[in-house]
């Protein structure tokens, strides 16, 4: 399944009509120990670039923005119980939410894994 990356260090994996969104390994490393994740409720309408979730470490809080337009179909409730999943497996079990894709063309502006690696290396 294709995986895309944003400049805000989020990943988007597209499976048919549904996209899964989370933060990258680089992002969790920057944040340090994650203590709390607030994921959006099912049915919430998201707009590209708008607030979608919040992730907090001991010393920092970051907003997670929606990478594309769409509607939330599921938030990862496992993160409420165990926010450390976002550290231990950010690009797997530690996903944040799933959403529909209103406009697949919006994915064209995102990076692929090679592009994202180059982007991080340049930071």
């Amino acid at each position: 399944m294709p995986r895309f990356y944003t400049e805000e260090h989020e990943w988007v994996e597209v499976d048919g009509e549904i996209a899964t969104v989370g933060i990258t390994d680089f992002a969790q490393g920057q944040l340090g120990d994650i203590v709390f994740v607030e994921v959006p409720d099912t049915g919430v309408e998201l707009t590209k670039g708008g607030d979608a979730a919040v992730v907090e470490s001991v010393k920092a809080a970051s907003d997670i923005y929606a990478p594309v337009d769409g509607t939330v179909t599921e938030g990862n409730s496992a993160l409420e119980e165990d926010p450390a999943l976002a550290n231990s497996d950010p690009e797997g079990e530690g996903w944040f939410f799933r959403m529909t894709l209103s406009d697949k063309a919006q994915l064209d502006g995102l990076m692929d894994s090679k592009g994202y690696k180059a982007y991080c290396d340049a930071l």
Binding site: D33, V35, F36, E56, V58, K59, P83, A84
Partner: protein, 519 residues
């Protein structure tokens, strides 16, 4: 859990593995005494007070509180011991240098405490008829006049309860003034070098916040600020001296530009200690500035408050200041303008910020401090505070990176960064190392414009001998961090506690004691 060893700690629990060489039965170590919670040693039947009557049972029907509340009591002797033991696990100014940048932890004179406890100040109700509290009103007024004179401003709002509350007061004055002009300006500009409270305050008052970048030398970028000014900008919130410990030398130009564009200038006065008696903010075009009485005027920090944050105001903003407003009359009497007379005497006020009149207990302390120093002593305060900070800066810049050392003298605090430490070593390690050396660490990771910031504010109440010893300790820690001394990574070793698990505390918050705990 046995209350004899309240922390539940056992030698076999040592993370390092292996037993501790010096285990005690109680968990105490001579004068380092662990103290259980009151819930573990008190009981619901014990009380440390007595009363001279036992009234018949009240009858308030279904409103009577019948279930146990769960409030343990201790006898007076146990109470004194409990809190005395707890107190000994705290670092404090009374024990030594407390070089927290931006916090101005200076000596708290005890005369101030004695005065605040005089029954004529301590045992007076805020709603007594004003003819019975003329002395209290005189204190508020006398302090107000000092603050106005020291800042060269027009008026002062005395009621804000702390610095952030003062910021809010100033920002609301700006809002009210704009409304009176019929303008709806939505944006407040906040430089990167401002205190974190500034943007929070602006947002709380309904403004949109926009950052203004800092120059390489750690000051507000005047050109960037000018470029952003316009009809939608309500004003600027600036911290001067700023959080890098530098005086904003363009302050007057900033004020002039903001005024020319129809905006107002708020100054965060947290660092007023550096300039009191040397320069008056009113002469630099500032419209509103809060003064932290608990910083510049030595009212005790008390482990986190109470503070007090009166706000001095320019002629443009003074009419909008909050009630109660202190007034002196021609016959020498004093009055607090409250709701009942605001209509005639202070009609444009934006309203009330707090119940009653503000932090009276802090006013008496601050006025006592001010009268002790006088105008000449306060000027000396600023000069010694700045001299002490520069002495720190120049004595340490060869071992610690000082990012703005070339920007000229610092004001009341010296800023260092973690540049040049060994791989894996950080500001945090130096801070925790200072604890073992018997000091409270400096402010760390603030301001955000510098990586791994260390902000050192010695204040004027430290002697040269104390500074020299601290400089020696910090030099040795800097060298240990540069050489990668592994023992530093696990500091502190000698404090009542080792490094605490803040991650665990935040992931599974335990915010109140419950009976089953630790069992």
């Amino acid at each position: 859990m046995s209350a004899l060893n309240p922390t539940g700690w056992r030698p076999e629990m040592n993370a390092a593995g292996g037993a501790d060489d010096n285990v005690t039965f109680t968990g105490n170590r001579a004068l380092m005494l662990d103290e259980p919670l009151i819930f573990e040693i008190g009981s619901n039947q014990t009380t440390g007070v007595d009363f001279d009557e036992n009234p018949e049972a009240a009858d308030l029907g279904s409103l009577m509180r019948r279930d146990p509340i769960g409030l343990p009591g201790l006898s007076e002797s146990e109470t004194v011991r409990h809190y005395t033991r707890l107190s000994r696990q705290n670092y404090a100014i009374d024990l030594g240098l407390f070089p927290l940048g931006s916090c101005t932890m200076k000596h708290n004179p005890r005369l101030n405490e004695k005065v605040a406890r005089m029954p004529g100040f301590a045992d007076v109700h805020p709603l007594q008829p004003q003819e019975t509290v003329q002395g209290a009103l005189a204190v508020i007024n006398e302090l107000a006049e000092w603050l106005i004179s020291l800042t060269g401003m027009y008026g002062v709002a005395m009621s804000p309860k702390a610095g952030a509350h003062g910021e809010l007061c100033g920002v609301l004055c700006i809002k009210a003034a704009l409304e009176a002009r019929g303008e709806d300006r939505r944006v407040l500009l906040v430089p990167e070098s401002a205190h974190g409270t500034n943007p929070a305050t602006a947002a709380f008052a309904g403004f949109a916040v926009e950052d203004i970048p800092a120059t390489k030398e750690g000051r507000v970028d005047l050109e960037a600020l000018k470029a952003r000014l316009g009809p939608d900008v309500a004003g600027v919130m600036i911290t001067n001296p700023n959080t890098c410990g530098l005086f904003e030398r363009d302050m007057k130009a900033i004020s002039d530009a903001v005024h020319a564009a129809g905006g107002y200038v708020y100054c965060d006065g947290a660092n007023f200690n550096a300039i009191v008696g040397k320069v008056r903010p009113g002469d630099l075009g500032i419209d509103a500035m809060h003064i932290n009485l608990h910083k510049t005027f030595s009212t005790p920090h008390g482990g986190g408050g109470p503070g007090s944050g009166p706000v001095v105001l320019s002629e443009a903003l003074a009419p909008y200041g909050p009630i109660p407003y202190s007034a002196r009359y021609a016959d020498g009497s004093f009055k607090l303008v409250e709701e009942e007379s605001a209509g005639e005497e202070h009609p444009d006020t934006f309203g009330r910020m707090t119940a009653f009149h503000g932090q009276m207990g802090m006013f008496t302390r601050a006025l006592t401090y001010i009268l002790s120093h006088g105008a000449d002593g306060l000027k000396q305060v600023a000069e010694d505070a700045v001299l002490n900070a520069n002495y720190m800066l120049r004595s340490l810049e060869d071992v610690l990176d000082a990012p703005f050392a070339a920007s000229g003298p610092c004001m009341h605090e010296a800023l260092f960064s973690d540049k040049g430490l060994a791989e894996g070593f950080s500001t945090l390690d130096i801070a925790k190392g200072l604890i073992d050396e018997g000091y409270h660490p400096m402010t760390v990771y603030f301001p955000l414009v510098v990586h791994g910031a260390m902000l050192v504010e010695p204040t004027e109440t430290e002697s040269k001998a104390v500074l020299d010893q601290f400089i020696g300790a910090l030099r040795s820690l800097a060298l240990r961090a540069k050489n990668g001394d592994p023992a530093l990574k696990s500091a502190p070793h000698f404090a009542p506690r080792a490094r605490l698990d803040e991650t665990g505390a935040a992931r599974k918050p335990v915010l109140a004691w419950s009976e089953g705990e630790g069992a």
